[in-house]
Each structure stands twice: as C-alpha cells, then as structure tokens.
C-alpha cells in the first residue's frame, strides 16, 4: 500500500445556477493577460451543449486521454513518442482558433474621441489578436442556455447513444431541459498531460496532487494540449508556454479555497482530502468501461482505517493532513454516500474532480400535466425522466446507467424524506420504503441534507495545512525560502545559485 493524499473536489450540479461567477473570478485572478485572453481555466457549460472548446468531448478528433485494449498497458490515444514525432509539424489533434474563439474587445476609445456628428458614436468590436474589426462568431460560452438548439445542443456527443425517439423528446418545447457543467482541471491521478510532455515540465505535486506546469521547463510543444482529453491546458501565444488551472495553490498554501470555490454563489463547490493507493494506479483504469467508476473507488483508502493511517504516516503524510482526510466532504460524497461521480472516466485519466449529477432536470417530469409523488411509481419517473439517465451516464459513469440510477434514487430519497418531514403530505411507511429502495437510512439522509443545503464555509472547504517547507527542503533551504508562498519544487529564488 502506497498511500498518497490528494486535495479533491466536488461540484454539486443541483446547486449550480450557471452564473459564471467562478469563471470571472478565475479570469480576473489568473488569465487577464496578453496571450491568455482565450484561456478559461474555469468555464461553465450548458448541457446538453457543445462546450468549450467546441465539442471538446470528441476524442475521434482530439484523441486525448488513454485507451485500453485489454492488454497490460494503457496507451495514450495520441502524443506517445512515435505519434508525437510523426505529428511534429502538423498535429490534427490540436484544437485551433476555430475550436476556441477569436478573443475580442471594443474600440471603447471611439466613444471619447468621435468627431462631432449627426449620429451617436458606437464602439465596434475588434480582435484582441489582430486589432482589426471583427465579426463575432463564437465565444467561450457561445451556447449558454441554448438547450433545445438544433445547432448546439443537438451536437452534444453525449446524445449519440440515445435513440431517435429519446433525442426528439429532448427538443420538444415542453420537455426542454438543461443544466450547467462547471469545469476546471481535474488534477487527474493518472494524467495524460504529464505523460505526454516531452520536456518533463508537467508534474503532480506529491503532497496534494495538484498538476502544475513548470514555466521554466516548458518548451511549448503543446503535447499536453492534445493529450488532455478535457482540453484544460492552454497554450499562451505570447510566452510560448502552456498554462493550466493551478487550483489556486498560492491560496491553498495560505489556507484559502481557490478563487472559483470562494466566489461560488450557489455554494456548489466542496474541497477535501482523499487518500488513495498509488499502487492501484494506473491498474484501476484497466477495466471495462462500465466498471471504471467502481474501480476508481477501489483505489481510495478509508481515512479511518488504522492500517491506512499507519501506512500514510509511514509515507510521511502529516497528522494534520490525516485529520483533514477524516473530515473530508469529498470522502463523504464520493465514498460514504457514493453520490459524486467523475466526468468521462472512460478517458481513463482517473480525474479527481467529482460531480453530484443534477436531479432537478430528471425529476421535472410530468405525467398528464401533473407531477407524481406516489411511492408505488416513485422510480418510474426516473425511467421516464425528462433528461434520460443514459445521457447522464454518458457523462458521469462511462455509460453505466445503474451507477447514475443509484445516485438519483438516493438524491430523490433525500427530497422525499425532507418533504415528508416538512410538508407532511406523505405516508411514513412509503418514505421508509423509498429510503430502503435507495439503500439509505434516515441518518444518512439527514447528513446528506445538511452537507447539501446548509453547510458552512468550513464544512465545504476542509483544507489541509500545506507544509511547503517539507517540499522545498528537497531543493533548497526552507529558511532561505521562508514566506515564499506558491513556490514550486523548482523555486525561481535559488539560494544555492
């Protein structure tokens, strides 16, 4: 057992209102620079929809992530050494400006300097790249709120497995539905970006699992851009280096949650420690698609298990870190309650960001104009739901519908239990039956309710103390680096130099 600690993340999609405050917070803090205009380390997508960059889930085109053919090895879909060599001068797996968008601004100055005339001046849009007037044809959130659109929503790849009838239903006015999918780097446990980097510039921090690009070492090959199946690495055209979400490590190191977490209006975001067994990675990802979610769960270690604790201590994980792991909301959502699922685990990078799938669009199914709350056909509304479970399974469980259904049942059980408690229009026996069918208990449901609806800041963000001195020690004297928040293993300030 090789115990590693990971700062993991939960996004509760039922709570996301799609306000993009996270995106703006991140943009203002990290990517408000020349060369980074088009980067959205945090973005929010409307689902069904095509996302950003457009149709990033299309691995037939982008070839990101790992593939497994049943053999002993995972193989990168692209950017293996041979593949990278062949694509040195032309790489069709790279997203280009059309897949992103041409960043733009406006000639605001014209409003001040326009000559006196018989009509009002207006600031025309111009390209942030060329400075020339531009026809705005796309953006980082172009299909926002556009469920039901024949151009955008209909091209969502996750709809491919639906039957013709199921697809058509999604576009009938009365059945239109959508939800939001906020995305940051998944800080994967088995990242293809790290594997694909020819310069060895990308690394996963030992103490918390944050994936970072060393800007000194990056040579701008952009292999990581192609290799990341989530398209969460961006190439900076000004510096010639690639950049990505850093999980606001300078904030984490000073005890603050990342900017996108802290600013979240719907309070959908949770952060906590997960312990996992590095010996089980990447073997955990060498199983058939439908077994992937469970296989990833098997790699996680119970922070209350004495054997795990002993092995963690032996690996140098601090007591404070272990305490955080015991109180981790991530552990509760992923393992105790089994409500949080990884996004597109079939890319086999073992993402460490987990989503509680949205129940609302699923529950919003009416039969003959009324919503049915009878226990006997309690779960039929799941099968006939407005948003097919098949669609959610395509996103969150590599197509395994049973896993998503189990989550939905439990989420619904929480709703019905609280409804019985507060409204009192249901039979107690029916409610208990619902709980049993959802394989949950009153105690667990109360806990889920409390963590979902009324958690405090410090319950949502159980941040481990990051002791940088231990990591810094390996390359230079912590005393010389004291106060150097945010320094990586390769500090730019090197007292030995």
């Amino acid at each position: 057992m090789d115990v590693r600690a990971h700062v993991s993340v939960i996004f509760h999609l039922d709570k996301c209102i799609g306000c993009h405050t996270c995106s703006v917070a991140c943009k203002n803090v990290w990517t408000d620079r020349p060369g980074a205009e088009y980067m959205w380390w945090n973005n929010v997508e409307t689902k069904p929809g095509t996302g950003y960059p457009t149709r990033w889930e299309n691995q037939k085109k982008f070839n990101g992530g790992w593939k497994w053919d049943g053999s002993a090895k995972l193989e990168m879909r692209c950017q293996s050494k041979a593949d990278a060599f062949l694509k040195l001068f032309y790489n069709p797996n790279q997203p280009n400006l059309d897949d992103y968008y041409e960043p733009f601004t406006y000639k605001y100055d014209d409003l001040f300097t326009a000559k006196l005339g018989d009509d009002q001046p207006t600031a025309i849009p111009i390209s942030l790249i060329t400075g020339e007037p531009i026809e705005i044809k796309s953006g980082p959130n172009w299909d926002d709120d556009l469920s039901g659109s024949t151009i955008y929503a209909e091209n969502d790849l996750n709809l491919d497995n639906l039957t013709e009838e199921e697809r058509n239903q999604l576009f009938e006015v009365e059945r239109l539905t959508m939800f939001y999918l906020p995305r940051i780097c998944n800080h994967c446990a088995n990242p293809t970006c790290v594997a694909g980097c020819p310069s060895g510039a990308i690394y996963k921090r030992g103490e918390d699992g944050i994936v970072l690009i060393n800007q000194e070492k990056c040579r701008g090959w952009r292999a990581c851009v192609a290799a990341c199946p989530y398209k969460k690495i961006y190439y900076n055209w000004k510096t010639g280096k690639s950049e990505k979400c850093v999980l606001c490590f300078p904030r984490l190191e000073t005890g603050q949650p990342p900017a996108c977490f802290h600013s979240c209006v719907g309070r959908i975001r949770y952060m906590g420690v997960m312990l996992y067994d590095a010996d089980r990675v990447p073997d955990a990802m060498k199983v058939p698609d439908r077994a992937l979610v469970e296989s990833q769960r098997m790699a996680f270690l119970d922070p209350n298990n004495p054997e795990v604790i002993a092995a963690a201590r032996a690996n140098g994980i601090s007591e404070e870190f272990l305490d955080s792991a015991k109180n981790s909301p991530a552990w509760k959502y992923i393992m105790e309650w089994k409500l949080a699922l990884p996004l597109h685990i079939e890319y086999r990078t073992m993402p460490m960001l987990f989503y509680v799938p949205p129940l609302l669009p699923v529950m919003g199914k009416s039969v003959h104009g009324t919503y049915n709350h009878e226990a006997k056909n309690f779960f039929t509304c799941l099968e006939e739901s407005r948003l097919p479970v098949k669609y959610l399974a395509s996103l969150f469980s590599a197509g395994n519908e049973q896993i998503v259904e189990a989550v939905m049942r439990k989420l619904m059980a929480v709703r019905y239990y609280k409804r019985w408690q507060s409204v009192g229009d249901m039979n107690e026996n029916d409610v208990d039956k619902i709980l049993r069918d959802a394989r949950t208990t009153r105690e667990e449901v109360e806990q889920i309710y409390a963590m979902t609806a009324i958690p405090t800041h410090f319950q949502r963000f159980v941040l481990p103390p990051l002791q940088r001195e231990e990591a810094i020690e390996s390359t230079c004297s912590p005393e010389a680096c004291k106060g150097c928040t945010g320094f990586s293993l390769d500090p730019t300030f090197n007292p030995r130099a």
Partner: protein, 467 residues
C-alpha cells in the same frame, strides 16, 4: 434641458448625451452606505483604492458643485431668493385622507387647496451663498424637528448636542454643527441617528409607536438600546439592522427578517386605509377599471396596443410579441458593456427568437436582424432557441447603444436604438391616484411606476451591417 451634467464612471449613453461628464468613483474607491431588500445587513462601501485618474466620489463632486455655487453666489444671487417648493401628498400624513374621490381643480370641479386638492405648495428661501456651508453641516432643522417615519416621530436634540462633543464639527455664522465634510462623517451621521443602527433611536421610535397603538412595543428595542454602529464597526464585520418600527420585520435573537411580523405579532396596524391586510379597494378609479379585487388581465393584443399602425407589415418580416426581461449578463445597463460579460455572452445584446419562427423568415442563429415598430428600431443579432415559445421574441433590458450597434436601414441609416426604443411609456392611471390610504405617495412605496413594456414588433433579417 439647458444643461445636462452626468456623474458617471462609464462613457455610457447618458454620458454621451451630456454636456458635462464628471468622472465618478466606483464602489471600491469611495466610502458610502448601501442596503438591500435581499438581506438585513448594511453594506459599507469602502475606498480600497484611490479613485482612478481624476475621478471623485459622488459626495466630493456634489460638495465641489456646492462650493462653486457658493463662490458664484455673490455675483448672481447676492441676496437670498424666494422659491416655490411643490411636494406630493405624503404617506403617513393627514393627506392620506385628502382625496377619496377624483376631482380636478383645473376643471373647476373643486377649489385649489394645497395639501388637499393639489400638491403641497410652500415658499422657501434659498441662500446660495451658504449652499456649501449647509452641505457640510448637519442643519439646525434636523436638531429641532427630529425624525419621522411610518407615522412615528422621535426627538434627536440631546443626541445631536452630545454627538458634537465627540465628532468633527463645522463652525460658521456664529454656530456649530456636526460635520458632513468627509464622506465617512456623512455615513457616521446617518448611522448615529437612524433607528436601524442606533438602539436608542429605535427605542424612542417604539415609544412613539406605543403612544399611537396604546400597546407597549418598547420591549422590541430593550435589548439593543445600547447598540451604536459606526462606519468602522460595519467594516470590521457585517452588522444587521436593528428591529425598528420603520420596518415591519423582527430581527431580534438572530431571527430572519420577514415582512409584517410586527403587524401580526405586535398588533401594529398595517399602513392601509383599514389598518388591516387589505384586498378590496373601494376607490372609484379602481372600481372603474374593474380592479377593486385582485384581477387577471390578459396581455394586450396587437390591435389593442396599436404598435404597428404606421409601420407597413410584410416585406419579409414577422410580427412578434416583444418582451424585455431581466438579463443574465448585466444588471440593467451596468456591466453589460464590459469586455468580460460581452465575451461570456454573444458580444452584443441579442434578441432571442424561437427556431420555428426564425425558419419562417430565414434567420439562422447569430444572423443580424432588424426589429422595429412605430416607436423605434433595434439592430442586433438573433439567438435562435426552442426555449423561446413561438410568437414572441425577447431582448434583455437594458442594452446600451455604445457597443457595436449598427445603423438602421429602416430608419434612413441612423444609429439603431435599444430595448426601450421599441416600447412606449403607457402609464397606468391606477398608479397615479393618490391621497387615499395606502395609495399615497412615498418614495419607493407608491407612485407612478410599473410601465407595461409588452409590445409588438416586426422582425426581419438585416443583410448588410453598417456602423
């Protein structure tokens, strides 16, 4: 208008049409107070940084205008001048019973009696040479008259005198006043005399309320009587408003604010004609409009609204109902012109159209369209979505003409307009009756408002875009 002066931190439409634009400080560049009906905490706005370039806080700008006015007064108004002040029939005054029927003195239906059949009319003296001094001083009338709200009244003279002993003061004309020279002092004056932030004032207001109702309400302010919030207190940690009769909720003991708790629990009369929750309205105008009980009124149809009388229909356009709901990428007209919000949306202020409607007139998503009626024209791009029902289109309010708005072929290549170019101000007469119970003017309570902007437009494709 002879002169339009705009205090603004953006070059927005108002600024473009103003004679003078004075650059104003933003929220993070000035000290100010703000509150909301969304929660019961008081917002302090703090100057985190110095105002950019030459901009100044609103307080400093108004103060500067007052100083300039006072300096010019010896030349233009050497002596005090008389002025007429007209003010509405106010809520919480005897004027609430002034006009049970609608009679117009101008038509000879009644005599002109100020404060009864007409607004209050008062002659006041303006001494422009003292405008600045008065601006920076909390005046003697405040000390002598006290504060009134919701029909209650309390004295502040002793608090006013005591306040001067420990706070900055201004001396002029042989007298001394609490200072309002600095924005933070102005905030502190408000905090010190308002019952929401000074427990003694809340207690006095309840004393006054108790006399009116004959029930002792002072227990509501007993535990908070010693509370005094200062501006610095608010910046240290969030503070909630105290329970006062100026509001209707009870926030004691960490209770969540909810309207009308005091009316129900304390038997304080509702501020209606009957003092109760009041559904039936016996005013003759309400009866005439058939709205003396809560009433459903369907939307106006095209022939009723007469929005397309002079506009020829046809010409490849489609007639649609037009709505202007709240937007996602701006708060009314603010923030909508920032590059960030524009990038996250569509780079313009688009009109949403149903996909089947769009098919009828050959419009695809992101095509340029011209939307027009008798009132005006909008040129923008279309978002085509099945989420919009057929027969309607919508444009989030309130766009600006300042960003990428083309010229309109329909209007002789003049710059196209904004959402309200297509609507018209159609006042509802019921909002204009007054002087009768709860239908009596008070700021933000009752007055002409709620213009129904629902209208009809023609939408058609715009082939060539000219800026």
């Amino acid at each position: 208008m002879d002169l339009v002066v705009d205090l603004n931190f953006r070059m927005d439409t108002s600024a473009l049409y103003s004679d003078i634009v004075l650059p104003a400080a933003t929220f993070y560049e000035k000290n100010d107070l703000n509150s909301t009906d969304m929660h019961s905490f008081i917002h302090p706005l703090q100057a985190a940084v110095t105002p950019c370039w030459e901009s100044k806080s609103d307080w400093d700008i108004f103060k500067g205008i007052a100083a300039a006015t006072a300096a010019m007064a010896p030349q233009y108004f050497p002596d005090p001048v008389k002025d007429i002040l007209v003010s509405p029939l106010m809520h919480d005054t005897p004027a609430e019973l002034a006009q049970p029927t609608v009679k117009d003195w101008a038509k000879g239906e009644c005599d002109l009696i100020p404060g009864k059949t007409a607004p209050n009319i008062k002659i006041v003296t303006r001494d422009f040479s003292q405008v600045y001094n008065r601006f920076i001083s909390l005046g003697p009338n405040f000390r002598n008259n006290g504060l009134s709200m919701h029909g209650t009244h309390y004295d502040v003279d002793d608090a006013y005198d005591a306040y001067m002993e420990t706070h900055p003061t201004e001396k002029w004309g042989g007298k001394q006043y609490p200072s309002l020279r600095v924005d933070k002092d102005a905030c502190n004056v408000i905090l010190h005399f308002a019952p929401e932030t000074n427990g003694e004032m809340a207690w006095r207001a309840y004393e006054s309320e108790s006399i009116k109702t004959g029930i002792d309400h002072t227990h509501l302010a007993k535990d908070t009587r010693a509370v005094r919030y200062t501006f610095d207190d608010l910046t240290t940690q969030p503070r909630r408003t105290l329970t006062t009769p100026f509001w209707t909720g009870i926030t004691n003991g960490k209770r969540t604010y909810a309207a009308y708790c005091q009316n129900i629990e304390e038997n304080i009369p509702f501020r209606t004609l009957t003092g109760r929750q009041h559904l039936y309205l016996d005013h003759e105008t309400y009866i005439a409009f058939g709205e003396n009980l809560p009433t459903f009124k369907p939307r106006g149809e095209l022939r009723q609204t007469r929005d397309l009388v002079q506009t020829p229909k046809g010409g490849g356009g489609l007639v649609l109902n037009y709505l202007t709901p709240h937007g996602k990428w701006h708060i009314h007209s603010t923030y909508g012109d920032t590059q960030r919000m524009k990038t996250l949306s569509r780079g313009c202020y688009p009109v949403w159209v149903n996909d089947k409607d769009a098919d009828l007139i050959g419009i695809e998503d992101n095509d340029w369209i011209e939307v027009f009626n008798d009132h005006g024209v909008v040129c923008t791009r279309a978002i085509v979505s099945a989420r919009i029902p057929t027969g309607i289109c919508l444009l989030y309010h309130a766009p600006e003409r300042t960003l990428g708005v083309p010229k309109s072929p329909e209007r002789g290549m003049k710059r196209a307009g904004v959402h309200n170019s297509l609507t018209r101000t159609r006042m509802k007469p019921l909002f204009m009756i007054g002087g009768y119970g709860q239908f009596t003017y008070a700021f933000n309570y009752w007055g002409p408002q709620g213009v129904n902007r629902d209208t009809f437009v023609i939408v058609r494709k715009l082939d060539k875009v000219v800026y």
